[in-house]
Amino acid sequence: MKPKKLKTNTNKRRSITSWIEVQTTVSAYVRSVILNYHDSEDVIQNIAMVFVDKFEHLGSSRDLIPWVLKVARYEVANYFRAQNREKKLFDEKAMQRIEHAYQSIHPEAEGVKAALHECIKKLHDRPRNMLKLRYFKDMGIGDISRHLGISKNAIYVMLCRAREALANCVQRKTNIQWKTS
């Protein structure tokens, strides 16, 4: 392969633009079934590779989301196979159901992203720092508890509250209620 700067042709650029369209949903799907941060990023990276490679063969059928989520499901399944865990939380059927759910909420994705961007600014410093440790530093509840010297339970409650506050704010802003029943 030639160095990167030489290979940006139009097709590639188009595929990258399309990837950005689906990226939010695909990342959400992968990260919700693979909780380990680095592993999920690896898998997302693989999906992006397949996406960019296979994009031109997709032809005119522009039904990107079902296609890319299927690719994602294969990659996730591959990952689980390589992990060889004895008991899996999600079987084939569960994976399919989750995939369909993501397919159906895909139109909301960009809205949620934009709303969250605003909502997160409103958080107080304390919960925001907590989220930062959790998400940016990729620390688990145990790590945060050791780091701050606060009990695990308190950390858990604070994280849940922060996430719940963000969930409510996002639902208000997007005007979509998540709970259907």
Partner: protein, 591 residues
């Protein structure tokens, strides 16, 4: 029943009890609304991560390069997430911006004043205009049109003055920037530049270091140690491009955002010390010694943290692993003058490679490779010696042992005539003329030939002691063999030929200090050097009188495996054989 939201939070925090996990599974399988809720929370979760890890917060930090990696972490993490002072990465320097601004401002003020004046004239005209009848209006029209035209002309002139001014200032800035000093050249060691350097001030442009080391200090404060062979381009006071070669960067807090582009990827620093190597054929490797760096481009990027190495392959894929699993690729400090045997671009030290290094002083003295399969093959010699003695001699468990951890070394073995013991490379090359050796060895292959009878001491050949990194040696108490992979050494450097192998071999003269003359007199070891399985050198050396010899073997670009072997027919006690100053001579290859 647990509350659905609660179940999802527990799952996301990996806190489900087995019972709750069962409940969670059932909900996913049976409750459509739950799955949808789960997807919503998953989306939220992922977006929160993006907010913190990826680019969105960056938008508020204008001036910072927008990649997917996000905000540079602050040194102490308990601080606020609020946006920090803007970090300017790119020239032009603020002073020049100010100049343009103030010039444009005065021009605009002039223009506005003119316009106001014109408006006033207009107003004066207007009062009579309202009261005057149509006839008068028609009469006044040509005059008015003329005034309006004058005004438009004035506006056009004023606008073109502003544009011209901006152009002149802009061109001037370009010129100033090209002449601006972006870095200074500091210490160097054995440095040979392709274009000899007269002055320490460095301006934008491309440079090639052919031999040795050079230290650059960027204007914004980053210190970079360049290791030859290396071609790079200085792009601004906090940005460079590395075409090929190796470097380490030490980035102080005021230079956070220091950026290095390579042909394969971009590395942005968040206040750290890191090593970076890249080439046209091999890819990019980043080792983070302190802090964090972001590796990647617009499509994908990762943050590598302290103690991690990022590897970017030809497809742009970024893999992270622990530094413990990597070869010590980077020289982190400028070697003191005259303190090193190896010179990048000129002379590579094979003893350093045995010590786990890159051949330029990153290896560890005393580290040893042990050709017995039942132990870890890479340890300190002391650890080998501590293991229980078997009449003072170790027996190898089995044939050729590949050393995956050290890519420059193909493997090690204990040579013997038996079928299994004559294999000397991972590709199955065979040492046809291998003598009978009993298949035993004593110490393994050690970086730094040290021996012990009553006390541990460094080896000595022809009156010369080899005990420091400036006088390296490989201890090879017979019978042992080691095969170096020259292809993988070549791949670590760009535009370099390995032209020759040189070493001084023999049995340490310190053996003569021993009182037991009988032992001393009878030691005889044969030294062998093989290239791709062909014998290029062999000689039996004894200790009565003490003999040593110089090895000098030319190497071709197609030669892949260099094998050093010592054998003896005797019981291998006191076979204190060694290769002193084992070097690969390097030459420049024109790209």
């Amino acid at each position: 029943m647990t509350d659905p939201q609660q179940l999802i939070h527990l799952y996301l925090e990996n806190q489900l009890t087995p019972k709750q996990a069962q409940e969670f599974q059932n909900c996913i399988k049976e409750d459509g609304a739950f799955v949808r809720l789960f997807a919503h929370y998953g989306l939220l979760n992922s977006c929160i991560r993006n907010e913190f890890v990826e680019n969105n917060l960056l938008a508020s930090l204008s001036g910072y390069p927008v990649t997917q990696c996000g905000v540079p972490p602050q040194p102490e993490d308990t601080g606020q997430m609020a946006s920090r002072p803007i970090l300017t990465l790119e020239e032009p320097a603020p002073r020049h911006i100010h100049e343009i601004e103030s010039y444009a401002k005065t021009q605009l003020e002039k223009f506005l004043a003119e316009q106001e004046k014109a408006a006033r004239i207009n107003q004066n005209m207007r009062r009579p205009f309202i009261t005057v009848d149509w006839k008068a209006t028609l009469q006044a029209l040509p005059q008015r049109l003329d005034r309006m035209l004058t005004m438009t002309r004035r506006m056009a002139i004023a606008a073109s003055i502003v544009i011209a001014a901006l152009l002149v200032v802009g061109l001037g800035i370009n010129y100033v920037l090209s002449m601006q000093v972006v870095a200074t050249l500091g210490d160097s060691s054995h440095a040979v530049w392709r274009v000899p350097r007269q002055e320490p001030q460095l301006r934008r442009g491309s440079m090639t270091l052919e031999e040795g080391y050079a230290q650059l200090t960027f204007k914004q404060g980053t210190q970079v140690l360049i290791q030859a062979p290396c071609t790079f381009e200085l792009q601004s006071s906090n940005k460079m491009a590395l075409e090929n070669g190796s470097m380490t960067a030490n980035v102080p807090s005021q230079a956070v955002g220091f950026t290095v582009k390579t042909p394969w990827t971009t590395v942005i620093d968040y206040g750290t010390e890191f090593g970076l190597s890249t080439g046209q054929t091999n890819c990019t490797e980043v080792h983070v010694f302190k802090g964090n760096v972001c590796v990647g481009d617009a499509t994908s990027s990762r943050v590598a943290t302290e103690g991690q190495a990022a590897h970017v392959d030809q497809a742009g894929r970024i893999g992270l692993k622990s530094l413990d699993d990597c070869l010590n690729l980077f020289v982190r400090h400028m070697p003191k003058a005259g303190s090193c045997f190896s010179i990048p671009g000129k002379r590579l030290d094979l003893a350093d490679v045995v010590g786990g290094g890159n051949g330029f002083g990153t290896g560890v003295l005393g580290r040893a490779l042990d050709p017995s399969k039942d132990s870890t093959s890479f340890s300190f010699r002391a650890a080998i010696l501590r293991r229980p003695f078997n009449k003072g001699v170790y027996r190898a468990a089995s044939g050729f042992i590949g050393i995956e951890k050290l890519p420059f070394i193909d493997g090690i073995f204990v040579p013997d005539r038996s079928e299994q013991s004559t294999i000397i490379s991972s590709t199955g090359l065979v040492f046809q003329d291998c003598p009978d050796t009993h298949g035993t060895y004593y110490d393994g292959i050690v970086c730094g030939a040290v021996f012990d009878d009553r006390k541990v001491h460094a080896g000595r050949l022809a009156g010369h002691r080899y005990e420091t990194p400036e006088q390296p040696s490989i201890g090879t108490c017979a019978n042992v063999g080691i095969t170096f992979d020259l292809d993988s050494i070549r791949a670590s450097m760009s535009n370099v030929l390995i032209s020759r192998f040189r070493a001084h071999c023999g049995i340490s003269e310190t053996l003569a200090d021993m009182h037991d003359e009988q032992i001393y007199a009878q030691v005889k070891v044969t030294f062998w050097v093989l290239v791709d399985g062909r014998i290029e050198y062999f000689r039996e050396l004894g200790t009565d009188p003490c003999e040593s010899d110089q090895i000098n073997i030319p190497l071709n670009p197609s030669d892949r495996f260099l094998t050093l072997i010592t054998t003896t027919h005797q019981e291998n006690l006191y076979c204190w054989s060694m290769f002193a100053e084992p070097e690969l001579e390097l030459e420049h290859k024109d790209p």
